[in-house]
Chain length 110, copies 2
Protein backbone atom coordinates (compact mmCIF):
# COMPACT_ATOMS: atom_id res chain seq x y z
CA UNK A 1 0.00 0.00 0.00
CA UNK A 2 1.38 3.41 -0.92
CA UNK A 3 0.33 6.83 0.41
CA UNK A 4 -2.35 7.41 -2.24
CA UNK A 5 -3.90 4.03 -1.63
CA UNK A 6 -3.93 4.60 2.14
CA UNK A 7 -5.72 7.96 1.91
CA UNK A 8 -8.26 6.48 -0.51
CA UNK A 9 -8.94 3.68 1.95
CA UNK A 10 -9.28 6.18 4.81
CA UNK A 11 -11.87 8.02 2.72
CA UNK A 12 -13.98 4.99 1.91
CA UNK A 13 -13.27 2.95 5.07
CA UNK A 14 -13.72 5.73 7.63
CA UNK A 15 -15.48 8.76 6.14
CA UNK A 16 -17.93 7.04 3.81
CA UNK A 17 -18.52 4.13 6.16
CA UNK A 18 -18.98 6.25 9.31
CA UNK A 19 -21.36 8.52 7.42
CA UNK A 20 -23.55 5.52 6.61
CA UNK A 21 -23.33 4.40 10.24
CA UNK A 22 -24.34 7.86 11.50
CA UNK A 23 -27.22 8.01 9.02
CA UNK A 24 -28.47 4.66 10.27
CA UNK A 25 -28.02 5.54 13.94
CA UNK A 26 -29.72 8.92 13.73
CA UNK A 27 -32.51 7.85 11.41
CA UNK A 28 -33.39 4.44 12.81
CA UNK A 29 -32.88 4.71 16.57
CA UNK A 30 -36.02 5.03 18.67
CA UNK A 31 -35.65 7.30 21.72
CA UNK A 32 -37.12 4.50 23.84
CA UNK A 33 -34.19 2.23 22.90
CA UNK A 34 -31.44 4.40 24.39
CA UNK A 35 -30.14 5.22 27.84
CA UNK A 36 -26.90 7.09 27.22
CA UNK A 37 -27.54 10.81 27.98
CA UNK A 38 -25.37 12.05 25.08
CA UNK A 39 -27.21 9.82 22.64
CA UNK A 40 -30.65 10.72 23.97
CA UNK A 41 -29.84 14.39 23.36
CA UNK A 42 -28.35 13.66 19.94
CA UNK A 43 -31.36 11.65 18.73
CA UNK A 44 -33.79 14.25 20.04
CA UNK A 45 -31.74 16.96 18.29
CA UNK A 46 -31.86 15.04 15.00
CA UNK A 47 -35.56 14.21 15.20
CA UNK A 48 -36.35 17.91 15.57
CA UNK A 49 -34.56 18.88 12.37
CA UNK A 50 -36.57 19.62 9.24
CA UNK A 51 -35.78 17.08 6.49
CA UNK A 52 -33.75 19.56 4.43
CA UNK A 53 -31.61 20.30 7.50
CA UNK A 54 -30.95 16.60 8.07
CA UNK A 55 -29.13 16.57 4.73
CA UNK A 56 -27.06 19.60 5.76
CA UNK A 57 -26.36 18.04 9.17
CA UNK A 58 -24.77 14.98 7.54
CA UNK A 59 -22.72 17.17 5.19
CA UNK A 60 -21.36 18.97 8.28
CA UNK A 61 -20.47 15.65 9.94
CA UNK A 62 -18.65 14.62 6.75
CA UNK A 63 -16.64 17.85 6.74
CA UNK A 64 -15.76 17.42 10.44
CA UNK A 65 -14.47 13.90 9.70
CA UNK A 66 -12.38 15.24 6.79
CA UNK A 67 -10.95 18.03 8.99
CA UNK A 68 -9.98 15.78 11.89
CA UNK A 69 -8.40 13.04 9.76
CA UNK A 70 -6.56 15.71 7.77
CA UNK A 71 -5.22 17.20 11.01
CA UNK A 72 -3.91 13.81 12.20
CA UNK A 73 -2.22 13.23 8.83
CA UNK A 74 -0.69 16.70 9.01
CA UNK A 75 0.88 15.79 12.36
CA UNK A 76 2.25 12.51 10.93
CA UNK A 77 3.62 14.33 7.85
CA UNK A 78 5.21 16.99 10.03
CA UNK A 79 3.33 19.79 8.26
CA UNK A 80 1.66 20.67 11.56
CA UNK A 81 3.13 20.29 15.01
CA UNK A 82 1.71 19.52 18.42
CA UNK A 83 2.59 22.11 21.06
CA UNK A 84 6.35 22.46 21.41
CA UNK A 85 7.19 19.03 19.95
CA UNK A 86 9.11 19.38 16.73
CA UNK A 87 10.55 15.88 16.38
CA UNK A 88 9.80 13.75 13.32
CA UNK A 89 7.07 11.19 12.96
CA UNK A 90 7.26 8.48 10.35
CA UNK A 91 4.50 6.14 9.30
CA UNK A 92 5.56 2.89 7.66
CA UNK A 93 3.53 0.19 5.94
CA UNK A 94 5.38 -3.10 5.80
CA UNK A 95 8.55 -1.13 6.44
CA UNK A 96 7.99 1.35 3.60
CA UNK A 97 7.60 5.02 4.45
CA UNK A 98 4.31 6.81 3.69
CA UNK A 99 4.54 10.52 3.01
CA UNK A 100 2.55 13.59 1.91
CA UNK A 101 -0.54 11.97 3.40
CA UNK A 102 -2.42 15.18 4.22
CA UNK A 103 -2.04 16.61 0.71
CA UNK A 104 -3.06 13.36 -0.97
CA UNK A 105 -5.96 12.97 1.45
CA UNK A 106 -7.33 16.47 0.92
CA UNK A 107 -6.92 16.32 -2.87
CA UNK A 108 -9.69 13.70 -2.89
CA UNK A 109 -12.22 16.29 -1.75
CA UNK A 110 -11.34 19.21 -4.04
CA UNK B 1 6.99 11.80 23.04
CA UNK B 2 5.44 8.48 23.98
CA UNK B 3 2.05 7.06 22.97
CA UNK B 4 0.17 8.54 25.93
CA UNK B 5 1.61 11.98 25.33
CA UNK B 6 0.74 11.83 21.64
CA UNK B 7 -2.92 10.94 22.23
CA UNK B 8 -3.20 13.69 24.87
CA UNK B 9 -1.83 16.18 22.36
CA UNK B 10 -4.27 14.93 19.69
CA UNK B 11 -7.08 15.56 22.17
CA UNK B 12 -6.09 19.09 23.05
CA UNK B 13 -4.48 20.07 19.73
CA UNK B 14 -7.15 18.71 17.39
CA UNK B 15 -10.39 17.95 19.23
CA UNK B 16 -10.43 20.80 21.74
CA UNK B 17 -8.91 23.27 19.32
CA UNK B 18 -11.16 22.38 16.37
CA UNK B 19 -14.19 22.58 18.64
CA UNK B 20 -13.29 26.17 19.53
CA UNK B 21 -12.72 26.94 15.84
CA UNK B 22 -16.12 25.47 14.90
CA UNK B 23 -17.84 27.40 17.71
CA UNK B 24 -16.29 30.61 16.44
CA UNK B 25 -17.07 29.88 12.78
CA UNK B 26 -20.69 28.91 13.35
CA UNK B 27 -21.44 31.58 15.93
CA UNK B 28 -19.61 34.57 14.48
CA UNK B 29 -19.92 34.21 10.69
CA UNK B 30 -22.44 36.45 9.00
CA UNK B 31 -24.25 34.83 6.04
CA UNK B 32 -23.36 37.91 3.94
CA UNK B 33 -19.64 37.17 4.44
CA UNK B 34 -19.63 33.75 2.76
CA UNK B 35 -19.81 32.41 -0.77
CA UNK B 36 -19.03 28.71 -0.42
CA UNK B 37 -22.32 26.77 -0.91
CA UNK B 38 -21.49 24.18 1.77
CA UNK B 39 -20.74 26.89 4.28
CA UNK B 40 -23.82 28.95 3.41
CA UNK B 41 -25.97 25.89 4.12
CA UNK B 42 -24.05 25.09 7.30
CA UNK B 43 -24.37 28.60 8.74
CA UNK B 44 -28.06 28.77 7.87
CA UNK B 45 -28.54 25.36 9.51
CA UNK B 46 -26.81 26.55 12.69
CA UNK B 47 -28.62 29.88 12.87
CA UNK B 48 -31.96 28.05 12.79
CA UNK B 49 -31.13 25.90 15.81
CA UNK B 50 -32.64 26.74 19.19
CA UNK B 51 -29.90 27.71 21.69
CA UNK B 52 -30.18 24.43 23.62
CA UNK B 53 -29.72 22.50 20.37
CA UNK B 54 -26.57 24.48 19.53
CA UNK B 55 -24.96 22.94 22.63
CA UNK B 56 -26.00 19.45 21.53
CA UNK B 57 -24.78 20.13 17.98
CA UNK B 58 -21.27 20.89 19.26
CA UNK B 59 -21.30 17.77 21.45
CA UNK B 60 -22.12 15.73 18.33
CA UNK B 61 -19.25 17.34 16.39
CA UNK B 62 -16.90 16.51 19.30
CA UNK B 63 -18.03 12.86 19.24
CA UNK B 64 -17.55 12.67 15.45
CA UNK B 65 -13.98 13.99 15.85
CA UNK B 66 -13.29 11.38 18.56
CA UNK B 67 -14.71 8.60 16.36
CA UNK B 68 -12.74 9.49 13.26
CA UNK B 69 -9.40 10.01 15.03
CA UNK B 70 -9.96 6.76 16.94
CA UNK B 71 -10.58 4.95 13.65
CA UNK B 72 -7.33 6.26 12.13
CA UNK B 73 -5.39 5.21 15.25
CA UNK B 74 -7.02 1.77 15.07
CA UNK B 75 -5.70 1.37 11.52
CA UNK B 76 -2.19 2.44 12.60
CA UNK B 77 -2.30 0.06 15.59
CA UNK B 78 -3.50 -2.78 13.39
CA UNK B 79 -6.62 -3.31 15.52
CA UNK B 80 -8.75 -2.48 12.49
CA UNK B 81 -7.92 -3.15 8.88
CA UNK B 82 -8.65 -1.40 5.61
CA UNK B 83 -10.33 -3.64 3.06
CA UNK B 84 -8.20 -6.67 2.28
CA UNK B 85 -4.91 -5.09 3.44
CA UNK B 86 -3.54 -6.94 6.43
CA UNK B 87 0.06 -5.72 6.43
CA UNK B 88 1.52 -3.92 9.42
CA UNK B 89 1.71 -0.19 9.96
CA UNK B 90 4.18 1.31 12.37
CA UNK B 91 4.24 4.89 13.61
CA UNK B 92 7.55 6.15 14.94
CA UNK B 93 8.45 9.36 16.76
CA UNK B 94 12.12 10.13 16.51
CA UNK B 95 12.65 6.49 15.58
CA UNK B 96 10.77 5.12 18.59
CA UNK B 97 7.66 3.03 18.00
CA UNK B 98 4.27 4.27 19.23
CA UNK B 99 1.71 1.60 20.09
CA UNK B 100 -1.76 1.02 21.56
CA UNK B 101 -2.73 4.48 20.37
CA UNK B 102 -6.46 3.82 19.95
CA UNK B 103 -6.86 2.41 23.47
CA UNK B 104 -4.90 5.24 25.08
CA UNK B 105 -6.77 7.79 22.99
CA UNK B 106 -10.24 6.47 23.87
CA UNK B 107 -9.41 6.07 27.57
CA UNK B 108 -9.25 9.87 27.78
CA UNK B 109 -12.97 10.11 27.07
CA UNK B 110 -14.33 7.40 29.39
Amino acid sequence: MDSKELVYLLKIGIINENLEIYKGLFSDTLPSEIKDPYFIDAISFFNNLPDEHKRIFFSILRQVMIDSISNVLGVIDGSSSLEEHDGDFSLLYEGKSLEYLQDYFLSQFE
